[in-house]
Protein backbone atom coordinates (compact mmCIF):
# COMPACT_ATOMS: atom_id res chain seq x y z
CA UNK A 1 0.00 0.00 0.00
CA UNK A 2 2.68 2.50 0.99
CA UNK A 3 4.60 1.42 -2.08
CA UNK A 4 2.13 3.09 -4.39
CA UNK A 5 1.29 6.59 -3.17
CA UNK A 6 -0.90 7.22 -6.22
CA UNK A 7 -3.23 4.38 -5.49
CA UNK A 8 -3.85 4.33 -1.78
CA UNK A 9 -7.31 3.35 -0.57
CA UNK A 10 -9.60 6.28 0.15
CA UNK A 11 -11.74 6.54 3.22
CA UNK A 12 -14.64 5.85 3.61
CA UNK A 13 -14.36 2.67 1.58
CA UNK A 14 -17.64 3.17 -0.17
CA UNK A 15 -17.64 -0.19 -1.94
CA UNK A 16 -17.35 -2.17 1.28
CA UNK A 17 -19.06 0.33 3.56
CA UNK A 18 -22.19 -0.93 5.23
CA UNK A 19 -24.90 1.64 4.50
CA UNK A 20 -26.11 3.21 7.71
CA UNK A 21 -29.21 5.25 8.35
CA UNK A 22 -27.26 8.43 8.94
CA UNK A 23 -25.13 8.24 5.83
CA UNK A 24 -28.14 7.40 3.69
CA UNK A 25 -30.15 10.31 5.10
CA UNK A 26 -27.22 12.63 4.56
CA UNK A 27 -26.87 11.84 0.87
CA UNK A 28 -30.65 12.02 0.52
CA UNK A 29 -30.54 15.65 1.59
CA UNK A 30 -28.27 16.37 -1.34
CA UNK A 31 -30.28 14.28 -3.80
CA UNK A 32 -33.60 15.86 -2.80
CA UNK A 33 -32.03 19.33 -3.10
CA UNK A 34 -30.97 18.58 -6.67
CA UNK A 35 -34.26 16.92 -7.61
CA UNK A 36 -36.35 19.76 -6.14
CA UNK A 37 -35.03 22.07 -8.81
CA UNK A 38 -37.12 20.20 -11.37
CA UNK A 39 -40.22 20.59 -9.23
CA UNK A 40 -39.42 24.27 -9.01
CA UNK A 41 -39.13 24.47 -12.80
CA UNK A 42 -42.55 22.88 -13.15
CA UNK A 43 -43.96 25.45 -10.76
CA UNK A 44 -42.37 28.28 -12.72
CA UNK A 45 -43.91 26.94 -15.96
CA UNK A 46 -47.28 26.67 -14.24
CA UNK A 47 -47.27 30.32 -13.20
CA UNK A 48 -45.90 31.38 -16.55
CA UNK A 49 -48.69 29.54 -18.38
CA UNK A 50 -51.18 31.23 -16.05
CA UNK A 51 -49.78 34.66 -16.88
CA UNK A 52 -50.14 34.02 -20.61
CA UNK A 53 -53.85 33.25 -20.41
CA UNK A 54 -56.53 30.62 -20.02
CA UNK A 55 -55.68 28.57 -23.12
CA UNK A 56 -52.06 27.97 -22.16
CA UNK A 57 -53.01 27.43 -18.52
CA UNK A 58 -55.56 24.78 -19.43
CA UNK A 59 -53.01 22.98 -21.54
CA UNK A 60 -50.36 22.95 -18.83
CA UNK A 61 -52.85 22.25 -16.07
CA UNK A 62 -53.97 19.19 -18.03
CA UNK A 63 -50.39 17.95 -18.10
CA UNK A 64 -49.70 18.29 -14.37
CA UNK A 65 -53.10 16.80 -13.54
CA UNK A 66 -52.53 13.71 -15.68
CA UNK A 67 -51.45 10.53 -13.91
CA UNK A 68 -47.77 11.10 -14.70
CA UNK A 69 -48.09 14.78 -13.80
CA UNK A 70 -49.56 13.94 -10.43
CA UNK A 71 -46.89 11.34 -9.76
CA UNK A 72 -44.24 13.97 -10.44
CA UNK A 73 -46.00 16.40 -8.11
CA UNK A 74 -46.22 13.72 -5.43
CA UNK A 75 -42.51 12.98 -5.83
CA UNK A 76 -41.68 16.68 -5.50
CA UNK A 77 -43.86 16.90 -2.40
CA UNK A 78 -42.04 13.97 -0.76
CA UNK A 79 -38.67 15.47 -1.69
CA UNK A 80 -39.70 18.86 -0.36
CA UNK A 81 -40.84 17.67 3.06
CA UNK A 82 -37.85 15.41 3.47
CA UNK A 83 -35.44 18.19 2.49
CA UNK A 84 -37.37 20.57 4.73
CA UNK A 85 -37.03 18.51 7.92
CA UNK A 86 -33.55 17.36 7.12
CA UNK A 87 -32.68 21.02 6.46
CA UNK A 88 -34.17 22.10 9.78
CA UNK A 89 -32.02 19.45 11.47
CA UNK A 90 -29.00 20.94 9.69
CA UNK A 91 -29.93 24.36 11.05
CA UNK A 92 -30.03 22.96 14.59
CA UNK A 93 -26.64 21.35 14.06
CA UNK A 94 -25.34 24.70 12.82
CA UNK A 95 -26.09 26.29 16.19
CA UNK A 96 -24.57 23.31 17.99
CA UNK A 97 -27.72 21.46 19.00
CA UNK A 98 -28.22 17.75 18.48
CA UNK A 99 -24.73 16.32 18.30
CA UNK A 100 -23.74 13.01 19.83
CA UNK A 101 -24.48 9.65 18.31
CA UNK A 102 -27.60 9.07 20.34
CA UNK A 103 -29.20 12.41 19.41
CA UNK A 104 -28.24 12.04 15.78
CA UNK A 105 -29.90 8.63 15.72
CA UNK A 106 -33.02 9.94 17.40
CA UNK A 107 -33.33 12.96 15.16
CA UNK A 108 -32.94 10.73 12.10
CA UNK A 109 -36.08 8.88 13.12
CA UNK A 110 -37.77 12.19 13.94
CA UNK A 111 -36.97 13.54 10.45
CA UNK A 112 -38.42 10.43 8.80
CA UNK A 113 -41.52 10.44 10.98
CA UNK A 114 -42.14 14.16 10.45
CA UNK A 115 -41.64 13.78 6.69
CA UNK A 116 -44.19 10.99 6.41
CA UNK A 117 -46.69 12.83 8.63
CA UNK A 118 -46.45 16.04 6.63
CA UNK A 119 -46.82 14.20 3.31
CA UNK A 120 -50.01 12.59 4.58
CA UNK A 121 -51.26 15.86 6.08
CA UNK A 122 -50.64 17.75 2.84
CA UNK A 123 -52.46 15.11 0.81
CA UNK A 124 -55.38 15.27 3.23
CA UNK A 125 -55.58 19.04 2.88
CA UNK A 126 -55.54 18.59 -0.90
CA UNK A 127 -58.29 15.97 -0.79
CA UNK A 128 -60.60 17.76 1.63
CA UNK A 129 -60.38 21.15 0.02
CA UNK A 130 -60.39 19.82 -3.53
Amino acid sequence: MTQDPQNRPLSPHLTIYRPQLNSVLSIMHRITGIVLFFGLLLLIFWFFSMSVGQASFDLFSGLINSLIGRLILLGSLCALWYHFFSGVRHLFWDVGIGFGLEWVQRSSYAVLLATISLIILTLLIGVFTG
Binding site: G33, L40, I44, S61, L77
Partner: protein, 127 residues
Protein backbone atom coordinates in the same frame (compact mmCIF):
# COMPACT_ATOMS: atom_id res chain seq x y z
CA UNK B 1 -4.76 38.88 2.46
CA UNK B 2 -3.85 35.36 3.36
CA UNK B 3 -6.86 33.74 1.76
CA UNK B 4 -6.74 36.04 -1.25
CA UNK B 5 -9.11 34.97 -3.94
CA UNK B 6 -7.80 33.07 -6.91
CA UNK B 7 -8.13 35.12 -10.04
CA UNK B 8 -10.87 34.01 -12.39
CA UNK B 9 -12.00 31.17 -10.17
CA UNK B 10 -15.73 30.89 -9.70
CA UNK B 11 -17.19 29.20 -6.68
CA UNK B 12 -16.57 29.98 -3.07
CA UNK B 13 -14.52 27.28 -1.46
CA UNK B 14 -11.18 28.85 -2.34
CA UNK B 15 -11.85 32.21 -0.82
CA UNK B 16 -11.69 32.93 2.90
CA UNK B 17 -14.12 35.73 3.69
CA UNK B 18 -16.41 34.99 0.76
CA UNK B 19 -16.91 31.39 1.79
CA UNK B 20 -18.02 32.53 5.25
CA UNK B 21 -20.45 34.93 3.61
CA UNK B 22 -21.66 32.16 1.35
CA UNK B 23 -22.26 29.93 4.35
CA UNK B 24 -24.17 32.66 6.20
CA UNK B 25 -26.38 33.57 3.25
CA UNK B 26 -27.10 29.87 2.72
CA UNK B 27 -28.46 29.70 6.31
CA UNK B 28 -30.38 32.92 5.61
CA UNK B 29 -32.27 31.47 2.61
CA UNK B 30 -32.85 28.17 4.45
CA UNK B 31 -34.47 29.92 7.40
CA UNK B 32 -36.67 32.04 5.13
CA UNK B 33 -37.80 28.95 3.25
CA UNK B 34 -39.18 27.32 6.42
CA UNK B 35 -42.30 29.52 6.74
CA UNK B 36 -42.54 30.25 3.01
CA UNK B 37 -42.69 26.61 1.95
CA UNK B 38 -45.41 25.79 4.48
CA UNK B 39 -47.54 28.75 3.39
CA UNK B 40 -47.01 28.11 -0.29
CA UNK B 41 -47.66 24.36 -0.23
CA UNK B 42 -50.91 24.82 1.69
CA UNK B 43 -52.07 27.26 -0.99
CA UNK B 44 -50.87 25.13 -3.85
CA UNK B 45 -52.46 21.79 -2.90
CA UNK B 46 -55.79 23.52 -2.50
CA UNK B 47 -55.90 24.91 -6.04
CA UNK B 48 -53.58 22.95 -8.33
CA UNK B 49 -56.47 20.98 -9.89
CA UNK B 50 -58.94 23.88 -10.05
CA UNK B 51 -60.11 25.75 -13.17
CA UNK B 52 -58.27 28.79 -14.44
CA UNK B 53 -60.50 31.48 -12.94
CA UNK B 54 -60.30 30.06 -9.45
CA UNK B 55 -56.52 29.62 -9.54
CA UNK B 56 -56.11 33.10 -10.98
CA UNK B 57 -58.27 34.64 -8.24
CA UNK B 58 -56.26 32.85 -5.58
CA UNK B 59 -52.95 34.19 -6.81
CA UNK B 60 -54.31 37.65 -7.49
CA UNK B 61 -54.79 37.99 -3.77
CA UNK B 62 -51.81 40.14 -2.74
CA UNK B 63 -50.75 37.92 0.17
CA UNK B 64 -50.90 34.68 -1.83
CA UNK B 65 -49.18 36.37 -4.75
CA UNK B 66 -46.33 37.63 -2.59
CA UNK B 67 -45.90 34.34 -0.72
CA UNK B 68 -45.68 32.37 -3.97
CA UNK B 69 -43.35 34.91 -5.57
CA UNK B 70 -41.02 34.97 -2.57
CA UNK B 71 -41.08 31.18 -2.22
CA UNK B 72 -40.00 30.72 -5.84
CA UNK B 73 -37.39 33.49 -5.89
CA UNK B 74 -35.78 32.47 -2.61
CA UNK B 75 -35.85 28.80 -3.65
CA UNK B 76 -33.98 29.77 -6.83
CA UNK B 77 -31.42 31.71 -4.80
CA UNK B 78 -31.09 28.86 -2.30
CA UNK B 79 -30.75 26.32 -5.11
CA UNK B 80 -27.97 28.30 -6.69
CA UNK B 81 -26.09 28.47 -3.37
CA UNK B 82 -26.59 24.76 -2.79
CA UNK B 83 -25.71 23.52 -6.24
CA UNK B 84 -22.53 25.58 -6.15
CA UNK B 85 -21.30 23.54 -3.18
CA UNK B 86 -22.32 20.31 -4.88
CA UNK B 87 -20.46 21.21 -8.06
CA UNK B 88 -17.36 22.23 -6.12
CA UNK B 89 -17.42 18.78 -4.53
CA UNK B 90 -17.69 16.79 -7.74
CA UNK B 91 -16.27 18.84 -10.62
CA UNK B 92 -12.53 19.14 -10.18
CA UNK B 93 -11.58 20.41 -13.61
CA UNK B 94 -11.57 24.14 -12.93
CA UNK B 95 -12.49 25.17 -16.46
CA UNK B 96 -15.51 22.89 -16.54
CA UNK B 97 -16.43 23.92 -13.01
CA UNK B 98 -16.33 27.63 -13.80
CA UNK B 99 -18.31 27.11 -16.98
CA UNK B 100 -20.98 25.02 -15.23
CA UNK B 101 -21.37 27.58 -12.45
CA UNK B 102 -21.62 30.39 -14.96
CA UNK B 103 -24.29 28.57 -16.99
CA UNK B 104 -26.31 27.81 -13.86
CA UNK B 105 -26.03 31.46 -12.86
CA UNK B 106 -27.33 32.61 -16.23
CA UNK B 107 -30.17 30.08 -16.09
CA UNK B 108 -31.21 31.24 -12.62
CA UNK B 109 -31.25 34.91 -13.63
CA UNK B 110 -33.28 34.06 -16.70
CA UNK B 111 -35.80 32.22 -14.50
CA UNK B 112 -35.93 35.17 -12.10
CA UNK B 113 -36.96 37.42 -14.96
CA UNK B 114 -39.61 34.93 -16.16
CA UNK B 115 -41.00 34.58 -12.62
CA UNK B 116 -41.23 38.31 -11.92
CA UNK B 117 -42.84 38.90 -15.30
CA UNK B 118 -45.39 36.11 -14.65
CA UNK B 119 -46.35 37.30 -11.18
CA UNK B 120 -46.76 40.91 -12.22
CA UNK B 121 -48.99 39.96 -15.14
CA UNK B 122 -51.03 37.57 -13.00
CA UNK B 123 -51.56 40.32 -10.45
CA UNK B 124 -52.64 42.84 -13.07
CA UNK B 125 -54.69 40.51 -15.25
CA UNK B 126 -58.33 41.53 -15.79
CA UNK B 127 -60.82 38.72 -15.46
Amino acid sequence: MMFGSVKGLRGQSHKGVESTNHWISQRFTSILLVPLSILFVVNFVRVFDKPFIEVLKTFQHPVNNLVALLFILISLWHYRQGIEVVIEDYVHDLRIRNLTLRLIGIMCWFLVIVVIFSFVSIYRMEI
